[in-house]
Structure formats: C-alpha cells, structure tokens
Amino acid sequence: MPPVNILITVDSITALSTGALTENIYLTDDNPYSQDKGTGHLKTNCVRGQTITWKALAVDVQSPAVIADIAFVDDIGVTIESGVDPAPERYVKPRWLTWSGIIPYRLNPGIYHYRLAIQVASGKRSTMFTTSPALIVAA
C-alpha cells in the first residue's frame, strides 16, 4: 500500500501578520480520494496500516515554515480554530523533525481531526496552530 504524502503550503508572512493559519495555509495530498484539496481543511483519505508523511513548504522561500507539532484531537465535538500557539517553547527545534507515521491497525474508521502547529522563525508569536485538517480512515 503506497504511502500518502500531505504537503502543507504556508503563506508565512500573512500568517505572522494575522496571527492565524486560517486562509493562509493550503494542504493537499496524493491520494485521489481525499477531499478539499488545496484548502486549510483537507480531509486525507487513508486506511489502517498506511504510512502518512507530512511536509511543509513556505510560499516565500526567505521565510521558511516548519511543522512544530501534529497532535490528534478528540473528534467528539471538535471546534475548528486557529491562532497563535500559547506555549511554543515546549516544542524542540522543529527543523530537525520529520513527520511520518503509520495509521494504527486497530483504529476505528472515521474522521480524525488533528491540531497542526506551524512555526515561522522564532519568538512568542512565531508558532500558529489550526485544527481544521483531518484524516478520514476508511473501513
């Protein structure tokens, strides 16, 4: 089963200016059955045991953006929000990280939103998060 690659394109400058990733982030992947490609609320179609790889790309090459964190949220009553991460110092230097993993084999089919944190440069307001993207795990 081929892996799914998710590409996150970030408009770093606008994101820093507005303090949120809403409308400043564009996700797409290489699974033909995924939904809302090219938006901030990509729903990636995948199956259990499949490898998912996330990669970030800044629109402005001089303002590199990297993934600081990917954490799955409880999908019961998830609220879609975005803003400045309240405690960016808890992340290790994110440039050194790769974001790749396997969908758990015993996971129930369904939609799983994740909290995506993107860091641009450094400082208190450098890290922004969004909870809009999701994985759809097929049966």
Binding site: F72, L97, S122
Partner: protein
C-alpha cells in the same frame, strides 16, 4: 528547495573609498537569526546554517546583496524609467536643489546621460580631446553631479571634484570556504536593474560542518573631475571577510520515536 539565506552588506562607500578599506564601513545582516547567526549589524557576521534537513529539502542557498548607504530604494517606482514627463521634471532645478549631492548622481546612474541635470553637455576640445581617454565618454556631465569641496585621498592635486557612486558590486567571492568546497558561489543574472542584473549566489555543501571564512571582494566606484574638467571613472576593489557556521542535528520523527512511528491518534 533548501533554505534561502540572504546576506545583506550595507556599505558607506565614500568612507570606504577614502579609507581604502571596508573595515568599519561595512555592516552585515542575514536572515539566519533563527538559526543562531552572530554579529548581525556589524562587520563580523557569522551566518549560522543548519543543514539537518538538506537531504529532504535540498542544500541551503546563500544570496549576497550589497547595498550602498546612499542607494535609492531597490524598488524605485517604474514611473522613474517610463514617463517622459518625469524625465523632463528631473532636468529642472527643484530636485537637484533639494538633494544636491546624492540625487543627481543616482539619476545619472539609472538613466545614463539621458538626463542632464543642470548644465548642457560640453564636449572636450583641443588638448582635452587628445588625451588617452578620447572616445571613452568624457563628456562633462555637469557640475551638479559632483560632490565638491571635501578633502579626499583619491583626489589628485587641482582636481575640481570627486564623487562616490552609491551602488557597490561584488566582484568575487573566495577564501577558505570556497577553496575547501563548502560553498560554490557564482554570479547569476536576473531582471533586477540596480546591480546591472547580476548578483552572487552560492549553494552550501551539506556534507561538511564547521566554521569557515570566506572573502567578499567588493568593487566601489567613484569619479574624478580634474582641473580641466575631464571626468574619469575609477573603482577600487576591497576585500572583506565573513564566516559561515554550518551545523547539523539528528533527524528524528516528530512523533517522538526514532523509528517509523504509529501515529498517536486518540
């Protein structure tokens, strides 16, 4: 694409020409503060470069941008070039009168001799025309274009004026980092007008770590008008050293496992 690092060199050209040295007349800044660059805003910049992600993202790229303190903004309005009205306006007194030293010089650099600021061109005659400079565009560009009066190292006795052009140019990049194959610099062309469409860029070798020195050879331009009014253009190429600190961290999974992780879905 790998990380793009911009290294801006701001130069006080008149001071550097007079001192025949860039020491204390150059200030360097890069956009690598995040990675831990040191000496930003001084003449001794050490640019920090993290090549950990070079295997995935490609090697980092350095771009050198020399800027004179007196240089007009790089994004000069296009009207500057395009409209006859503007050119006509520039030939009248108000602008040069407001900025007697810098502005006319800059206009001449941008537009060549299409704009004549205050005085009509005067072709050299007689003995002047017979000098070694014949045929090399020694028309008198007019008094308003010249910085006058100051004592100057590069002026010769009886020179009327010396001016310093506000645009520096990198002539070469060399030194330890180049000799050891750490960076591969070259001059590239671009549509950018203010450096004659040429700029220096280098790819960083991600397989070497450590601190390396490199030397920028920067050319500064000035003109003299001698006692007969003949204008000659000159340049001086001066070296200046800066450093690269290349480091690498261990790549590991963001899901806190050094092997391919099971994604922690709740």
């Amino acid at each position: 694409m790998g990380q793009q690092l911009g290294i801006v060199a701001v130069i006080d050209i008149a001071a550097a020409v007079e001192a025949n040295s860039l020491q204390n007349h150059i200030w360097l800044v890069d956009n690598g503060g995040w990675e831990g660059s040191t000496g930003e805003g001084t003449g001794t910049l050490a640019s920090a470069i993290d090549v950990t992600d070079a295997a995935q993202a490609g090697p980092p790229t350095l771009n050198w941008l020399p800027i004179g303190v007196g240089t007009l903004p790089i994004t000069v309005p296009q009207t500057f070039f395009l409209y006859e009205d503007d050119r006509t306006t520039l030939t009248h007194a108000p602008l040069p009168a407001k900025h007697p030293q810098r502005f006319p010089v800059r206009i001449r650099n941008v537009l060549g001799d299409e704009v004549n600021i205050k005085h009509a061109e005067r072709s050299p005659t007689g003995a002047e025309a017979a000098t070694a400079l014949s045929g090399k565009n020694i028309h008198d560009p007019g008094r308003a274009r010249f910085l006058r009066g100051a004592v100057s190292r590069v002026a010769q006795a009886d020179d009327q004026d010396v001016i310093y052009y506000p645009d520096p140019a990198i002539y070469r990049i060399g030194g330890e980092a180049v000799e050891q194959g750490v960076i591969f610099p070259a001059q590239y062309g671009s549509p950018e007008l203010f450096s004659d469409g040429l700029y220096w860029s280098a790819t960083v070798n991600p397989n070497i770590q450590g601190a390396f020195r490199y030397t920028m050879w920067i050319t500064l331009f000035y003109s003299r008008r001698d006692k007969r009014g003949v204008v000659t253009d000159h340049s001086v190429t001066l070296p200046h050293d800066a450093w690269l600190a290349i480091s690498k961290g261990g790549v590991r999974s963001g899901f806190l496992d050094d092997t391919l992780a099971i994604i922690p879905v709740v």
